[in-house]
Structure formats: C-alpha cells, structure tokens
Amino acid sequence: MTFINILTFILTGAVTAGTPLLFATLGEIITEKVGQLNLGVEGMMLMGAVIGFSAALSTGNPVLGILAGMIAGACGALIFAFLTITLRANQIVSGLSLTIFGTGFSSFVGQKMVGQGLADSVRNSFAPIKLPLLGDIPVLGPALFNQNVLVYAGYVVAVILAIYLYKTRLGLNMRMVGENPGAADTAGINVALYKYVHILIGGMLCGIAGAYMSMITVPSWQDGVTGGRGWIAVALVIFVTWNPYKAMLGSYFFGALSILGLYLQGYVHIPQSIFDMLPYFATIIVLIMISLKKSKENNPPKALGEPYFREDR
C-alpha cells in the first residue's frame, strides 16, 4: 500500500467512525448551550441504538429505524428534562441515572436480538454514495464525499446548528438562557420552554448516534453496542469548546484515533486500550489549555448545571 492509500483508508475510516460521535456531540452541545449538563448521552445513545435496530429489523425500513432511534433518544431526554427543569433535580445525578437506565433498557429490550443481523436491503441503503466532482478529489474526496447518507446528514446538521447558534435570534435567545437565565427571563424569553425544546433536540441527535452504531457500524446486535462513545462525546463537547464546526474536526479526529489503533495492531504491539484512552487524554490537555488561557470566550455556558427558579432570592 502506498502512503496515499493508507492515508485515504485512515481518513475514510475516521469520518465513518467519527459520525456517531459528531451526532452525540452536537446533541450535547445544544443541551449544554441552554445550561443543562446531561450526562445521559451514553444512555440516550443506547436507547436509540436498541429501538432503532429493532424497528429496522422488524420493518426492514432503514428510515423508520433512524426515526425510531431519534424518538427513543428524545424520550430519554424527556425524562432528564422533566427531572431537572420541572422538578429541579440535580443535573449530574439525573444524567448519570439516565445512562444507567438506558444501559439496562437496551440490554433488556435487545436480549432476544443478540447476534441477529439486519436485512441486506437495509444495510445496502447505507452504502457509500459518491458525490460527483467532489468525490474525485484525491484523499479528501473518498474520505469526505464517498460516504453513507448519515455522514452527509452530519455535515448538514453541524452547519445548520452553527448558523442557528450564532446568526439567528432564536440561537441568541437560547445562548442567553444558558449564560444567564435571569437575564433571559426578564427579556421575555420562556426559559423552561427553551430548555425543554433544546434538550429534546439534543436527545434526538444522541438517538441518531446510537442508531448509527447499531445499524451501520456493527453488523448485528450486540449488548453495549455504543462502547462508551457517549462519554467520549461528553468530553468532546469540552474539547471543541461548544463549537459545532470544531465538533466536526474533533469527532473525526477522535474517530481517526480509534481507526489508527485497529490499523496499527497488525504491525506493532500497542494494546487497543492505549488508543481508547487517547480521547480522554486529549480532553484533559484541552481542559488544561483552556484554564491556562483564561479567555472569556471558550468557557462553558455560565449557568451550566444550575437550576433556574424565578422567585429564588
């Protein structure tokens, strides 16, 4: 294999493997931008994975599979939203419980499906589609523009989210909710509504991420199919400093790390665990860098994790 071939192989794998991370990361960015720290990403992904897989398995329809995954993720997020906004429960505890719940839920529902595979018609609908012209660019063409539908959807969602956050009125309002809910409230913004809506959208994206894992990444159902990627997404949100564009770079970078591990195993004896560690290690480095830089721009939303109650003194 020439160097170009190896590079193309790794980059293509990085984008394919990074896409579920991207969806989950974008979902968590939306959630955290309204000031809610939802640590239930892994749980919501697993719920999306198992419901998406079983829907695709029973109906043979890939679109229904993805939709079902989205709805399942949103249901998980709804539990979190109700607990933390309406009942003002602690966000950390609620999020962790959601992860534990989602893990159990997927094992329970998926018990009978272990080892079963999706119909070829479903699998084929996620075959790579080469985009004209763009797909012919050397190295980047095959990596970025000869991919399955959901990879392209990932690009679109990231760009839309970035425009929404920084260019639109609604995005401005939702950022204000996450930064200073008191200010948002007195500006006539419905704080609870904004939080609910964005948490649910965040859950949907996490659901897609899970469904991607169970329907595309892995050929048949297996327990714990997400393999801790929800936690990587939580770390990624910090790594990319809540920026959707950087989320694409970060997700594909972390995707590359996982592919690199698999690829190098054939040549040198570095345990896969080392590569599994790298995303978290990189996140720690970024955290250190952020705190050293003391820039006001790259910090988490100011009211992240804090409940809001108008009549509080």
Partner: protein, 509 residues
C-alpha cells in the same frame, strides 16, 4: 398631559410564607416624573418593584398602568406594558456584545442582521446621550458602561416606565452625575422613572416625589420641595435619627502597619497594586476610596496573607509579615472582614448557622480532635444581644437572614477575636441607615480601644465623616492621601478617576 397617571398601585400585598413583604401598598407615579422609593432594608421596596416587573405575582391588590388594570404573570407581560426594570445585579451576559444583550428576546426577523440593528441602537443612544459601542463585549466594560447598556436595553424594548434598583451603589460620583443626566432626559421626553435608593442626598437631588415604605407598608408620599433629609429619615425609620457620624479621637498614635512599595500582580499579569506605601496608626481609621476594582480587594488580601506579594514590605508592629500564612497573621491580631457584592462570598458559609460560622474561626483555639461548640454557642448568643441581630435562632442558616444581619454576624465575629488591626471592606454595603450606624458605632468603639482600622468604603460622604485620613487609589496606584476633614466629594471623585492629589487639591483649595 403632564399629570397623566402612568402607574397606580392599590393595596398590593405579597407574602413569602409567614413573612409579609408588602402589606396594602399604594403608589402613584405620573408621566414625566422621577419618583424615589425610599425605605430601609426589608421594607419591601424590591418586592414591590419585582411585582411591578412581573417577577413576583401579588397575592392581592391591583395594578393600573395608564388607567388599565393589569395582571402580570411573567416579566414579558410587564414589558409589554412599557415597564423596564434595571436590577441591582445587572442582568447581562458577559460573553455577548451590548447589541446581543439588547436584542435578545425581541421579536424580529430570524437572522440577526448587524448594520440595521446597530443603527437603531445608535439612534436611541444619541437621543438620550447613552454612549455605548453596540459591538463591545460586556466583559470589557466598566460598571458605568454596563449600567448604560441596561438602560439602553429597556428603552430599546419600548419602556416608558423605568425602574432602577439602587443604581448608584456601584458608581463613582461622576458616573452618578452622568446617570442623573440620562434620567432627566428620560423625564423630559415623558417617561416615568422610579428609583430605589438609600442615599438621601441623591433623593433630594433627583426626585420629584418621594414615597417612603416601612416594614412593607407605605408611610406616605411627599413632594421634594416640601421635605428634607431629616423628615425623610423620620418617615423611614419611624423615629428621629441623628445623622452625623461622630469621629472619636484616640491619643495612642503608634504606627501599627507600615506598607512600603507593595506591588502585587494578578492572574492576568497586570499590576493590581503598583508600588503602594502608607502608614496606619493604632486608633486611626484610614479610609480607602476608589472605583470598584482599583485594587481594594488585593490590598486587603495581601495584608491578610491571601494574595501573593510580588515585591515590597508589609510591616506589622515592626515585623515584616510578607510570606506568612493567613493563620499566623490572624494569630498576630490582624483581622479582616470583607463584604463582597453578594455578601456571602467570603467569610461566612451561607448554609451554616451562626454557631458553625463562629467555629470556623474559633476552632483554632481548641485542642484535640473533637470540636467543642459551647464557646461558639455563647459567643453567638452574645453577638445577637449586643448587635441586635435578628435571627430565628443561632442554628438558623445565615443565608436566610437579611443582608444587614449577615454583615453584623461577620463583623461581630471578627471583632470578637480582639484584633489590633481590623481590615474591613464595604461593611455597610446595601445596609439601611439604622444598620449602618450600628456598624459605624462598632468601628468607633474599636478605634477607641486603640485598634487600627483600614476601612474600604463606597459612600464618599461616610468616608469623609468617619475616617481620619482617606487614601485614594486608582488602577492600583495611590493618587491621594488626604485628611478627611480637608477634602470634599468632588475632589475625591477626581482622584478616583486618576487625577493626582497635587492638581486636585490645588484647584479645590
């Protein structure tokens, strides 16, 4: 047109649990009028205004805006009726620009186009003389600028009735002048302005009418022309109060604290204190005046051993204490009470009761593994009696006490340790007249005992009356060291803005 009634409040009542915050309050404000709302802490001013701005819902009573009866369920409802409130703690997002803060929550096109909106904001700022760059980030702004953004925000949202909650608490005299100019312009253009404040001199300067609240009830409304400071105080407190602060003299004039060339560097590598030298004698109150953030906090913390000293000497009773840890410094008899803006940030643990808060300092004198609460208990009970602290009990979380009582607990604890040097920052921040005078008396009592006091203050009138000397700092440098009875507010204000003592005092004298 001139006497059109904008706001009419009738028999408004609001309770928080067993506490009656407002009881049958009535208020009437006309178009083109600046109306001051005066009252001690806990008299229900803020509660009343929060009901008017839709943050609290009243239990009973009516609000009429321009003759129409209204019910506010959310701040949005109140805004729709043209009411804009400027809160004491600014409701701004630091990482956003002025423009973003102003337009958030407003209806308009989906995309936030830049040029047109900036133009509209500029137009309003020109009309009222509100100088703000719409694209400047809030975290780069001074307190005065932030307040201007707040005012711009509510005007942009169409407010014709402006409510300001203690707007001058954090401003320099010059900034206050600027604010008053803006308010007068608003009044001329036909708006109604309600201003909540403790400062009587400001009330007499700016207000047309004054309504006084006491213990949640309206005591009365008076025209400014028909009243004076003394009468207003009587109305507020319910009895005559002597408004002068006595300045006691102390004979023992040994130098207790000698600071030479003190320089400290903050996190952003900026010199927070730049080559500061001064002396403080026993039995002296040395006032420190300066715009918020000029280095006051760093000065207190450097002396208390909480902030690293880059260079210079801090001599306490002839011994250099630079580099000593805070506990050793406390043991030597230096005590600090710092009242931060949120009152609880430093010094007290909000969720603990008085007893536990006393132990935080007192436990160091105890031996053994277990803590003896007996001393702390009696100490708490003594303080309650001596300082008239109003609390349901010594175990009641201090967070739930009123601001004045929290400050008494903190200052009381520091004084109980019999310090020789007392550093106190903003001890009367947000306190009403009665509570403030209790604190001044406490300080004077300490002074008579020969304690050296470093008093970091905000209210220049008080600094002038209470202190022996006043040191003015600006951007970490000393711009003036003056005798308190030889200086006036304007001179202090100019030095706070960076003018040197020579030019200022030369002009003044």
């Amino acid at each position: 047109m001139r006497n059109e009634v904008y706001i009419k409040i009738e028999n408004l009542t609001k309770t928080f649990g067993p506490v009656i915050a407002n009881n049958n309050v009535c208020l009437e404000v006309n178009r083109g009028e600046i109306h001051a709302l005066l009252g001690e802490n806990g008299s229900g001013k803020s509660t009343l205004m929060n009901m008017l701005s839709g943050i609290y819902t009243p239990d009973s009573g009516q609000i009429y805006i321009k003759g129409r009866q209204v019910t506010f369920r959310t701040p949005k409802d109140s805004m729709a009726m043209g009411i804009g409130m400027i809160h004491q703690h600014f409701k701004l997002v630091e990482v956003m620009s002025a423009k973003e803060n102003i337009i958030a929550g407003q209806k308009g096109r989906l995309f936030v186009g830049s040029a047109k909106l900036s133009g509209k904001i500029r137009k309003i700022s020109d009309k009222y003389g509100l100088a703000v760059d719409p694209d400047k980030k809030i975290y780069n702004m001074s307190v005065g600028e932030k307040q201007t953004v707040e005012i711009l925000k509510v005007i942009y949202r169409g407010a014709e009735i402006l409510i300001l909650d203690e707007p001058t608490a954090v401003l320099t005299p010059q900034e206050t002048e600027g604010l008053f100019k803006i308010l007068r312009k608003m009044k001329e253009s036909g708006s109604a302005v309600i201003i909540i404040t403790h400062k009587l001199n400001e009330v007499m300067e700016i207000a047309d009418k004054i309504t006084v609240l006491r213990k949640g009830e309206t005591v009365g409304t008076v025209n400014k022309e028909d009243t004076n400071s003394a009468e207003l105080t009587n109305l507020m407190v319910g009895r005559a109060v002597d408004l002068s602060i006595s300045r006691v003299e102390c004979k023992d004039k040994k130098t207790i604290l000698n600071i030479e060339g003190l320089t400290v560097v903050d996190d952003e590598k900026v010199k927070a204190l730049d080559n500061i030298s001064f002396k403080l004698s026993a039995g002296e109150i040395l006032g420190v005046a300066g715009v918020a953030g000029s280095g006051q906090k760093e000065l207190c913390e450097a002396i208390a051993g909480l902030f690293p000293v880059a260079s210079g000497k801090i001599e306490y009773k002839g011994e250099n204490i630079v580099g000593k840890n805070p506990r050793d410094i406390i043991k030597k008899g230096i005590s600090m009470s710092f009242i931060p803006e949120d009152r609880l940030g430093m010094g007290l643990v909000a969720s603990m009761g008085m007893v536990d808060n006393m132990i935080l300092k007192e436990y160091q004198n105890q031996k053994g593994f277990m803590i003896d609460k007996k001393i702390a208990r009696s100490l708490s009970q003594n303080l309650i009696k001596k300082l008239e602290i109003n609390t349901p009990g010594i175990y009641h979380p201090v967070r739930q006490l009123s601001g004045g009582n929290i400050q008494k607990v903190l200052l009381g604890r520091e004084i109980e340790s019999n310090p020789h040097l007392l550093i106190t920052a903003y001890p009367v921040r947000g306190l009403d007249i009665n509570a403030s005078y209790t604190i001044y008396d406490l300080l004077n009592e300490q002074k008579e005992k020969g304690v050296g006091i470093l008093y970091i203050g905000e209210d220049l009138d008080v600094l002038i009356e209470l202190c022996d000397r006043i040191m003015v700092i600006c951007n970490g440098k000393i711009t003036g060291m003056v005798d308190a009875h030889k200086v006036n507010k304007e001179q202090l204000g100019m030095m706070m803005a960076g003018e040197t003592m020579e030019t200022v005092m030369g002009v003044g004298a």
